[in-house]
């Protein structure tokens, strides 16, 4: 499968970064990719993920996966399963005693890639404390540790502000609260209303972030205060966290179950 994507003229990018009026249609030069890995999430309702493509992160991690997150990750069907309509559903649940469960999956050791286009079509959950994400980590994380391994967050959202999506890179000296983060907002709509296509196009010395094929942010080595750590393979992750340092805890009005529905995840490499 071949697919041609376009990227942006530098001048247009500068205008966007300066916060001026956004062009309704961007002028993007050709950038050619071919599909190398995907999951379309076809399968019967309630069935589990394809184990040849994904692994589960389970439990509570250390310090709530490093962020004081409140959920316990499971691989139970109520937290993660196919819906029989070509989607994967990751569902954050609150039980009768106020405990949260959810799911997080990754391709660590199964599939990783250096550079290319990485996209997922996702309908995100909403509500204070809900923290859905589609992201990547450096495959050398277990040897060099985080944040030296690098992290590329293609999509993460605070459910409290469901019309804003964020894309972020983390590296040594620019991680956590110091990470390089860009946001993209909707004026008359919100991300939980429908599916949206979140993508990163990553090459030597740049990571470009897109929502619905609109390029809203580019991060380059000039932006990072320290070492650029994005010249090695990364793997993919999908999860819905509850609470944590990013968006704070849920409240009594947070809707549970909170479901992230993923139509597909696709990865392309330079043609």
């Amino acid at each position: 499968m071949n697919k041609t994507f376009k990227t942006i003229l530098f001048a247009t990018l500068v205008a966007i970064m300066a916060g001026c009026d956004i062009e309704p249609k961007q002028t993007l030069p050709d950038r050619s990719y071919e599909l190398v890995w995907s999951d379309e999430f076809d399968g019967d309702s309630g069935t589990a993920l394809n184990a040849a493509k994904w692994a589960y992160d389970l439990g509570t991690g250390q310090n709530g996966w490093g962020n004081n997150e409140l959920q316990t990750y499971t691989n139970k069907p109520e937290n993660i399963s196919l819906d029989g309509k070509g989607h994967l559903k990751i569902t954050a649940l609150k039980d009768g005693s106020g405990q949260y469960t959810s799911a997080r999956i990754n391709t660590d050791g199964i599939y990783s890639q250096q550079y290319g286009r990485f996209e997922a079509r996702i309908k995100t959950p909403t509500g204070t404390g809900m923290w859905p994400a589609f992201w990547m980590l450096g495959s050398n994380r277990k040897t060099v540790g985080w944040p030296q391994c690098g992290e590329i967050d293609i999509m993460e959202q605070r459910g409290k502000f469901s019309n804003i999506t964020l894309s972020t890179v983390h590296g040594p000296g620019y991680a956590g609260g110091l990470a390089l983060s860009k946001s993209y907002g909707l004026q008359n709509d919100r991300f939980d209303n429908d599916f949206n296509l979140y993508a990163a196009e990553w090459g030597e010395n740049y990571v470009d972030f897109f929502v619905n094929d609109y390029l809203f942010a580019r991060i380059t080595p000039q932006d990072t205060p320290n070492e650029w750590v994005f010249d090695q393979p990364f793997y993919l992750l999908l999860n819905v966290a509850v609470g944590g340092n990013f968006g704070g805890p849920p409240n009594n009005n947070t809707p549970f179950p909170g479901t992230m529905t993923i139509d597909y995840v696709r990865a392309y490499k330079d043609k």
Binding site: T126, K160, S162, N163, L186, N188, R190, D192, N253, T254
Partner: protein, 468 residues
């Protein structure tokens, strides 16, 4: 609810609008076509938009003359609606509350997703309740949100519409109720501006509930009717706030799992027809609402003990055994009351059923002179033995008006009352109470005007009469 139309207010408002229009340098040309307001969302921008001339109706028990158009204040303008919320002790009404109703044909608001407005106050307050859909013509589409934070600077408030497709002919376009519970009884000024229906696109899908989102079981009997309450919609707005909207049943589709036992109508009233169990659930715009009501019908209702006193010793309010002394209003519709009152027709006669009671009353059409009588008799039946029902026998004094401090519920003016409670029940067994006419009304019981009934939640009463 009684409608009070304040003509003087209307006239001053019209004058204000005329002033506003002369201040604006635009005139209608001779061939201008009058616009159709069929789908107009604006209610008040710099003046009222197409409401007609007779649109302001204060609530019957609210202070009527609180409304004006302020030509010195406004959100990015110099005009706004000003409401002077009275002191709690104001003799002409202890709070401000009114509806704005389109005169003539209503509006089609199906293209909008929220009522929005800007509001500020002379001091930080919580605005008691605000919304749309009260038209005094059934209030079928009533929607409101409560305890809205209002500061001294303009803030935009968003009241999402649970299902805009229901607003095809909407006349009750705005209403509010503002009291002084948060200001220790002191009045203040409140301003509204830019009141309009908007298509925001950002209100999102609500989490809707019936019976407040929980599973509630009601043990009941053939012939009873139960009003579904706790009809709320929680929105997670993109400004980071959550808003809870309360609505009528019109935005819901209800379903009974066993319509032969209990059926539910479009107004959210469940009627019980046979013994057995039925589950009542609902959807809003096709999305299941949280919460369910389980009806456990025990069959026929046991009758109350039959009265034995002679009619000549009795002045009756409600009993199959006696002629009534006076007609009464069993559904006074007090503001804030959650009570559903129903007259249950059983094989053994009529019984009063109270569901979800917080406070209600039996208002006598004519005062009852009990100066020669000593007791009030009431038979009561509960399913929960721990139930306690408050009874306040009110004498309304020589002026024959019910006068109540809206903040405390205590009688004021020349009113007096006697308060007692019905308790010590056995579940599923009638108990008779004989309340002495003493206390506050020992020496003032010639103008008994009402029995106020508080708490108890779910109970049945019968044979309510005064006697020697």
């Amino acid at each position: 609810m009684k409608i009070i139309i304040i003509h003087t207010i209307k006239i001053s408002l019209l004058a204000a609008i005329l002033i506003a229009q002369t201040g604006c340098e635009r005139k209608l040309s001779d061939d201008a076509v009058l616009p159709s307001f069929g789908t107009t969302g604006e209610i008040f921008t710099d003046n009222f938009i197409g409401l007609g001339s007779n649109f302001y109706f204060p609530f019957a028990d609210a202070k009527p003359d609180v409304f004006s158009v302020d030509m010195n204040e406004g959100y990015k303008s110099s005009s706004s609606i000003r409401i002077d919320v009275p002191n709690a002790t104001d003799p002409t009404g202890g709070y401000a509350g009114a509806i704005f109703r389109v005169e003539g044909a209503g509006r089609n608001l199906t293209g909008y997703d929220a009522l929005t407005f800007y509001v500020k106050a002379s001091t930080g307050i919580k605005l008691g309740e605000v919304g749309f859909g009260i038209d005094y013509l059934g209030d079928k589409t009533r929607v409101s949100t409560q305890n809205v934070n209002v500061g001294t600077n303009w803030t935009k408030v968003i009241v999402p519409i649970p299902d805009p497709s229901k607003l095809v002919n909407e006349r009750g376009v705005f209403w509010f109720a503002a009291g002084t519970q948060g200001t220790a009884g002191s009045g203040y000024a409140l301003w509204f501006d830019e009141i309009k229906f908007e298509k925001l696109g950002t209100v999102g899908k609500p989490t809707s509930t019936i019976v407040n989102g929980v599973t509630t079981t009601v043990k009941t009997f053939i012939g009873s009717s139960i009003n579904l309450t706790g009809l709320n919609h929680v929105y997670n707005l993109v400004n980071g706030t959550d808003i809870v909207v309360n609505s009528t049943a019109v935005y819901y589709e209800f379903k009974s799992s066993n319509p032969a036992v209990a059926a539910v109508n479009d107004s959210g009233v469940v009627k019980v027809f046979a013994s057995g169990t039925a589950e009542i659930t609902a959807t809003v715009k096709g999305v299941p609402a949280k919460g369910k009501l389980i009806i456990e019908s025990k069959g026929d209702f046991p009758g109350a003990p039959g009265p034995t006193r002679p009619q000549s010793d009795v002045k009756s309010i409600f009993s199959d055994a006696y002629t009534n002394e006076t007609e009464s209003n069993f559904t006074p519709g007090f503001g804030g009351s959650t009570t559903l009152t129903d007259i249950l027709v059983t094989s053994k006669g009529k019984v009063l059923q109270y569901t979800n009671n917080n406070y209600t009353g039996i208002m006598f059409a004519n005062p009852v002179d009990a100066s020669s009588l000593g007791f009030l008799h009431i038979d009561a039946y509960v399913e929960n033995a721990a139930t306690s029902i408050g009874i306040q026998i009110r004498d309304i004094g020589g002026n024959k008006l019910i006068e109540t401090d809206v903040n405390t519920g205590n009688p004021i003016g020349d009113d007096k009352d006697n308060r007692s409670s019905l308790s010590g029940f056995q579940a599923g067994v009638w108990k008779s109470f004989d309340i002495p006419l003493n206390g506050g009304i020992l020496n003032q019981k010639s103008n008994l005007g009402a029995i106020i009934i508080t708490g108890g939640t779910l109970f049945y009463i019968d044979n309510i009469y005064f006697y020697k």
